[in-house]
Symmetry: C2
Subunit: 351 residues, 2 copies
DNA sequence: TTGTAAGCGTTATCAG
DNA sequence: CTGATAACGCTTACAA
């Protein structure tokens, strides 16, 4: 490894002069500056950022803690983040939590040892109102940008999140506008604020339309394709026959759609399906879905902007990004006017 | 930030004693060790890894340079890598190249400044036999594990890659065994060794079956869904009517499949489709595809093993990982025995 | 078992 | 414009 010292020796100058010449800072005669620069290039000098950081107290490191990079939404967000980081002359340390609190804690602790200047945190959501590592981050005054919805245990960090509630309500309103009156909802995990917001958006839209949100139309699914399939089967078992289904995400929607198609139902002729878009653009799935396009890349940009503000010592304001409804041929008016009222679960209508 | 010095002051001891106590190294009285430990915990001490590294000359950092983390294959590989890295007490610096040589060079240079101990490199493939930054890596003796196929400009680095040629040949043999004699190939970018291997595997299998690989059945596609669609349209335009299609990857296959389905063809009744699996398990696409399952996670593991060997100062042996053919209902015997011989492009039969 | 001195590669600071 | 000195937080090497 070539060090400043080595260049200084070759140049017959002090380390300091070389350092200054290379940084272009301070006044150094143009002549020597060029000479040093050439020499450094020739010798393949690469400054040691850690050593510099030791002295200047800035490491130029940002941490990203993410459930898993396999999630396409998160991956796109990460891409944006990394591009922005490089532009701002930061390097990115990546760590996965696999949605496990212990791993999350270990990750964060390691990153703290790296003296990261800021942390992008996609939290592992828990119901508990407190989490020790989050408390520690607060005490340390670590600059944290939460990428996701705030929850009790992480409330006081500035955050960037999608307007899930509004977007979900828009989906429901879209279905209502088409004439659907019996809309089932395949819900996600109750520990996930995003999933909860989506359920709440559905309920709010129903209420605003003067209807009663019937819980017999809400099925606990999860986040995976299988979860959607199981939920759809349960729905059929229970004799519930909605004219439309709204799912907490694309995967769940696809799982449900596959089940329905295998039952001989046609989409959207017999039943409409809508939900949030998590994978690809879902246009490439041959299951017709009307989806909410999530602003993945913009989420990354917004997160970085917030971080920049924090790094400048500002307060940093949380932001909610709108999501856009991508209406496709997957949703259509209900096949026939559903019976109004009706007592049994299957025909339980909002009204 | 709490430093060793601070703990030492509070404990009435030297920095050295504290350092030793915390590391558990050397002989320190069990009593003081516990006392120091407790004190450190209470004060929230986190050792500064960079400072330590400055002294010990190991940074505990590994770099990953990747086209984009959006690619599901790469994302899974990255996940494995990160998990392994953490297990080995390394942190991971992530950088994207976006497939652009200049960005790649900039990334690598930055990582060198971080004094990474090793670099996982998913190269930006170019046809040129030399690339300056690769030469520099060689000269520096940086420990590099190539994740991908070797190419002239990066030949001398140890690598981990999938047995694309063999896997591709297996696909073709599978189609041949079903009785297909007119198999089209939708090829990828010629700069990508993996794509080239896949084309070569197809050709080899045909030759081994005593057939002539007819280039009129090979269409340049690319890597995206749209590329597959365009290639399929071109194929149809040129009047080529294969009984089976083999694609360089899943996306291309899906693009082609969508076009064929929209033309009223049924899969696999009228035409069979097979290729490499890049997205999800493609089981969830309602386009029937027989695919090659790529050992994404094992690729990550193997890369890390290779890196460990390099770090131990060993030579490090390149490895090729086999890929498994996932046969599904997407491939079936050809609808009718194709005409043997035949002069025009459309019916151009092998042998 | 504990302490002292020195140094890792860089830059802040003050002096010339 | 350039140099000398000290320091960032930690650990190695040697001394007590």
């Amino acid at each position: 490894m070539v060090r400043l010292k080595d260049i200084a020796a070759r140049a017959g100058l002090t380390v300091m002069t070389v350092s200054r010449a290379l940084r272009g800072t301070s006044e150094v005669s143009a002549a020597t500056r060029e000479r040093i620069r050439a020499l450094a290039a020739e010798m393949g000098y690469v400054p040691d950022i850690s050593a510099r950081g030791l002295r200047t107290r800035n490491t130029g490191l940002l941490g990203v803690v993410i459930p898993t990079v396999i999630d396409p939404i998160h991956a796109r967000m990460l891409l944006a983040l990394e591009e922005q980081a490089r532009a701002g002359d930061f390097d990115l340390l990546l760590a996965h939590t696999l949605q496990q609190p212990e791993i999350e804690e270990a990750c964060i602790r390691r990153l703290l040892g790296r003296r990261i200047e800021g942390l992008f945190l996609l939290p592992v959501y828990r119901l508990a109102p407190e989490a020790p590592i989050y408390r520690e981050l607060r005490q340390r005054g670590t600059k944290v940008v939460l990428v996701g919805h705030p929850a009790p245990f992480c409330q006081d960090f500035p955050s960037v999140a999608v307007e899930d509630l509004l977007a979900s309500a828009a989906v429901t309103r879209h279905l209502l506008a088409l004439g659907h009156r019996r809309i089932a909802f395949l819900a996600g995990s109750p520990t996930s604020p995003a999933a909860r917001e989506r359920l709440e958006g559905y309920r709010r839209a129903l209420r605003e339309a003067g209807m009663v949100a019937d819980d017999r139309l809400v099925f606990n699914a999860g986040t995976e394709i299988e979860d959607g399939a199981h939920a759809a089967l349960r729905m059929i078992d229970e004799g519930v026959r909605p004219t439309a289904i709204q799912a907490v995400n694309d995967l769940v929607a696809i799982g449900a759609a596959n089940v329905l198609l295998s039952q001989g139902l046609r989409i959207p002729a017999d039943i409409s399906i809508a939900g949030f878009g998590n994978i690809l653009t879902s246009e490439y799935f041959r299951v017709p879905l009307t989806t909410v396009r999530q602003p993945k890349y913009r989420l990354g940009l917004a997160a970085m902007e917030l971080m920049q503000a924090l790094l400048r010592g500002e307060k940093g304001e949380s932001r909610r990004l709108p999501a856009e409804l991508a209406i496709r041929e997957s949703t259509a008016p209900p096949p026939a006017l559903p019976p109004v009222g009706g007592g049994e679960a299957g025909s339980a209508a909002h009204s």
